[in-house]
């Protein structure tokens, strides 16, 4: 099936999220949409999937114009979508989720899940998915949930599959498996629109790469294009991908975490005897797939998460049992993972947000009154220092872009004298230009001698910043490795393989361990994952 978008524009009020987009996806093609967060990729796909109505333009399938008034129409036309945030009902079984909206029924509307189970098994066998139709979705690992989403589209006989940032939640190994599944789907005649901002994956799997920036199609290029060129196209100016930071000169151990365990209200152990230390002047990055205890670890240090057992000492001062205010006063700077919820009061002005944790301290607070002049001066200085793009410090924080919001949070936290700096997902949803800037500030803080802890699920970021890397897996530290450890080893460790095994396995798979940048992308990538069990029949079934 050939899919064509012709002159698609989508406006929200006076703002154009997409402007005059032309895009052709050929039969059995993996077409990548590359662009930064907020470039308009997802909006475009929601238009294609019938969730939004285009302001202008046409969608053509096999050269015939079509119109979608809702996702139902798009599905009927053979378009399936795997959303970035899965559209699965957590408390339903896999079969119920897949049946939903296209249920097989017996007389009187009584559900017949047996039909659905059979279809799931067929597809599952064909692609080697290994999905149990009767498992409850919320109990499944994210990677499997994603396969459920793919099955959902395939059951509805999707000929074009839209994958919206599918790798954001996956381990590197799961990512490789997904890329493999995409190749199989393509071999079976399914076209794929692959939305991503991760250059490595895009180059590994795409047939064509279309770069989108600020709602416009910038260019369509071949996958052989170099990462640097792709990054430049994506951002619109020359980007330096490497930070080239100086080697760390670590001092004495400053933060000492010993046997910290956290059991949450539901009785689940989210941190299990975690021990590590961070030295002055070094960056320790905590790597791991989301949901392996990172959030709990940072919150345990800050004091918003009750610690069940263990001790956290900062320069000899015990932090466990202290109030959040005491911890902050002890010199901890904290950038939470979700800036718009926990980092900012978005309705407050930028000026106010810049002193959220300093409001009662001199020079900002005095008795019951606040010193508005000092606030204004502070805002002017911080906005200049951190290059926050705004025309007025009294604008609400919600008026800022993601990157600028993050700069405000960072500016506030770094404006105090710190004994420890913690940043969780410091550049999530931030444009590439700001990432570079924020990374430099983090390294600068390290160079001042502050111990820094970075929590990130982005392996690129971890490898970029870290002097040492601690890998969290299921609430345990699965090893602390040097900052230059290879992506393969880290990926395996994030999936729970022990450090020693990870190193030997990574060597086994890749005879030559090469830096990521120079990684050649073979047409048929080495098979890390299982082959389809019935690859011959799968070929026969191809449409």
């Amino acid at each position: 099936m050939k899919l064509e978008l012709r002159g698609i524009s989508k406006a929200f009020g006076s703002f154009y999220a997409n402007k005059d987009i032309d895009l052709v996806v050929d039969n059995a093609q993996i077409h990548c949409l590359l662009g930064e967060n907020g470039a308009g990729k997802s909006t475009l796909m929601n238009v294609l999937y019938g969730l939004y109505q285009p302001t202008e333009g046409q969608i053509l399938i096999d050269d015939k114009p079509v119109q979608f008034s809702g996702p139902g129409d798009a599905m009927a036309a053979g378009i399936g979508m795997v959303h970035q945030h899965f559209m699965l009902i957590p408390v339903f079984t896999v079969a119920e989720n897949i049946a939903l909206g296209a249920e097989a029924t017996k007389a009187g509307g009584v559900l017949d899940l047996q039909v659905t189970r059979k279809k799931i098994r067929e597809i599952s066998d064909r692609y080697g998915f290994d999905v149990d139709p009767d498992a409850i979705v919320e109990d499944l690992p994210v990677g499997v949930q994603q396969r459920v989403e793919i099955i959902k589209a395939l059951v509805r006989e999707a000929k074009v599959l839209i994958l919206d940032e599918p790798t954001a939640v996956l381990t590197p190994q799961e990512t490789d498996e997904l890329l493999d599944i995409m190749r199989q789907l393509k071999a079976n005649g399914t076209s794929i629109v692959f939305i991503s901002h991760k250059l490595r994956e895009v180059r590994a799997v795409s047939d064509v790469i279309t770069v989108v920036r600020r709602g416009l199609v910038i260019d369509s290029v071949a996958p052989e294009t170099s990462t640097t060129d792709l990054a430049n196209l994506m951002v619109g100016r020359a980007v330096q991908l490497n930070l080239n930071k100086e080697a760390a000169t670590p001092g004495a151990a400053s933060l000492v975490v010993r046997d910290v365990s956290v059991v949450n209200a539901a009785g689940t152990t989210t941190l299990d005897h975690v021990s590590f230390e961070i030295h002055q002047g070094e960056i320790l990055a905590v790597a791991g797939v989301q949901g392996n205890g990172q959030t709990e670890l940072t919150e345990a240090i800050l004091g918003t998460q009750p610690v069940t057992a263990g001790s956290i000492k900062l320069d000899g001062l015990e932090l466990v049992g202290k109030s959040v205010k005491q911890v902050l006063r002890a010199g901890v700077g904290f950038v939470p993972e979700d800036r718009s919820v926990h980092g900012l009061v978005t309705q407050f002005s930028i000026e106010e947000n810049l002193i959220l944790d300093l409001y009662d301290r001199k020079p900002f607070g005095k008795g019951i009154s606040m010193n508005l002049d000092a606030m204004k001066k502070n805002a002017t200085k911080q906005i200049a220092d951190f290059d926050v793009r705004t025309d007025n410090a009294l604008n609400p924080a919600s008026s800022l872009s993601g990157g600028n919001q993050q700069k405000v949070v960072m500016a506030r936290e770094l404006s105090r004298d710190l004994k420890l700096f913690i940043a969780s997902q410091p550049t999530r949803g931030v444009d590439v230009g700001s990432i570079e800037f924020l990374h430099r500030r983090i390294v600068a803080e390290r160079d001042k001698g502050t111990p820094v802890m970075i929590v990130s699920t982005e392996l690129d970021e971890v490898m970029e910043l870290a002097d040492r890397i601690a890998v969290l897996y299921k609430g345990k530290i699965n090893g602390i490795v040097p900052g230059n450890t290879s992506r393969e080893v880290l990926g395996l460790m994030m999936a729970g393989v022990s450090q020693a095994d990870a190193i030997s396995q990574a060597d086994h798979v890749k005879a030559d361990a090469e830096p990521v940048e120079a990684q050649p992308v073979p047409a048929q990538a080495p098979q890390v994952t299982h082959k389809p069990k019935h690859s011959t029949t799968a070929e026969g079934d191809a449409q």
Partner: protein, 426 residues
């Protein structure tokens, strides 16, 4: 892949289970042993199981007050001790044992009050049958709640729907002299209350709790106003509704204990059993139910699959209103002769508690409503036989049961994830 990623997180930290269960068990064991046993009356408590119309007789149950409760107390202490021991091993008492303890405690309490009362005998058969009768409006109300919340709309207006149904049934059945006309009118009245809820909650995105509360006050005000201005002017014409007869199924209704509960009901009573089954079957076994639950859990996901979220919610809220309205008609068409102000007396809120206690499941809500009906009826009967406990305390019992049931026993039960959140397409 050679890795295993699916193993669940194993709690390797030695963390003992909560002390809640052993403490509660110890307390009720001591109450049973000391208050009910040693300090109780030594007279025998007499429980009759049969009535005169039954097909065959079951002998009365007779318990010597003090002795029985001392035995119960010792038994409960033993179980409490066992649960402390289990806790020290990091295990918890199985649920059936907890339920058994609760039953022993309630029985012990019954024996204690009855043996200490002026009349040392109560009819267990009529206690249970009366409990079901009192539970009827609660069951209908809670089914309404289940239908709405499963679709993602919190329905605080159950009280208003019951009251509206009761009033409309009374006035229509009085004017037409036809109880069935009253029944249908009650359903329509409930639906009208629901329409207002649906309109504001779904279309205008007003906070659902606030709309619900306001609706309750509104219905209370309107029915109260019409009661004084219309009904009391001419009670003969406007407030003497025809009643629905109690239909006893010959033979079956003569079975002791169960007969009156299952086979000697008004039309509304039989409708209740039918409604519980249909709502349960519909929600969990049909395509309709799957879609409704999807809308209540994750409306956006349902939307991406082409399910019309707000239409589904609208129809569910309307259906809920019809059911609650019919439940309300029970007050004026079956239970009581005529309409009075605030006749529903807060039962809509108890029904709401039954929804939660029943974990948003029609059958669970039915069981919870029965429990509340039981507490309600027990209070009535115990007041009649004259117990050592002041009647004011007895009157509190249904509400105490509600609070303990919802707060203590349910724990962290989880409702539909999107209940209370309006769905807006971006």
């Amino acid at each position: 892949m050679t890795t295993t990623t699916s193993a669940a997180l194993q709690p390797s930290i030695s963390l003992l289970p909560s002390k809640k269960t052993p403490i509660v068990l110890s307390v009720i064991a001591l109450i049973t042993l000391i208050s009910f046993g040693f300090l109780g009356s030594s007279q025998a408590a007499n429980f009759s199981l049969s009535t005169n119309t039954d097909a065959f007789k079951i002998p009365d149950l007779v318990f010597p007050g003090m002795a029985t409760n001392i035995v119960f107390g010792v038994l409960l202490l033993a179980v409490a001790g066992y649960s402390w021991w289990l806790r020290s091993k990091g295990r918890t008492l199985p649920t059936y044992a907890v339920v058994l303890c609760a039953v022993l405690f309630v029985l012990g309490f019954l024996i204690w009050v009855v043996s200490g009362a002026n009349i040392n005998s109560i009819s267990l058969a009529s206690l249970l049958a009366g409990a079901v009768v009192l539970a009827v409006p609660l069951v209908f109300g809670s089914l309404s709640g289940v239908l709405c919340e499963r679709a993602g709309v919190v329905n605080i207006a159950i009280e208003g729907q019951l009251l509206g149904g009761a009033f409309t049934a009374a006035i229509v059945a009085s004017i037409t002299k036809n109880a069935f006309a009253g029944l249908i009118a009650a359903g329509i009245a409930g639906a009208l209350v629901s329409l207002v809820l649906a309109l504001f909650a779904i279309k205008y995105l007003v906070n659902q709790i606030i709309v619900g509360v306001v609706l309750n006050v509104l219905v209370s005000g309107i029915t109260g106003f019409l009661f004084t201005t219309v009904m009391q002017e001419d009670p003969e014409l406007f407030n003497s509704p025809a009643h629905l007869p109690v239909i006893a199924i010959p033979g079956l209704s003569a079975i002791p204990v169960l007969g009156p509960i299952l086979f000697k009901q008004s039309v509304i009573g039989y409708l209740m059993y039918l409604a519980v089954f249909l709502v349960w079957f519909g929600l969990f076994k049909t395509r309709w139910g799957l879609r409704v639950r999807a809308v209540g859990e994750h409306p956006k996901a349902a939307d991406t699959l082409g399910i019309k979220v707000n239409a589904t919610r609208f129809w569910n809220v309307t259906l809920g209103g019809i059911i609650a309205g019919i439940g309300g008609s029970f007050f004026t068409l079956v239970a009581i002769d005529s309409f009075t102000k605030e006749i529903s007396g807060g039962r809509g809120f108890i029904a709401l508690a039954a929804v939660i206690f029943g974990r948003w499941n029609p059958i669970g809500a039915f069981a919870a409503a029965l429990l509340f009906g039981f507490a309600d009826n027990l209070q009535v009967i115990l007041t009649i036989i004259g117990t050592p406990v002041p009647s004011q305390f007895m009157a509190m019992m249904p509400y105490l049961v509600t609070i303990f049931a919802v707060a203590g026993l349910v724990g962290r039960s989880r409702g539909p994830a999107a209940a209370g959140e309006p769905y807006v397409k971006e």
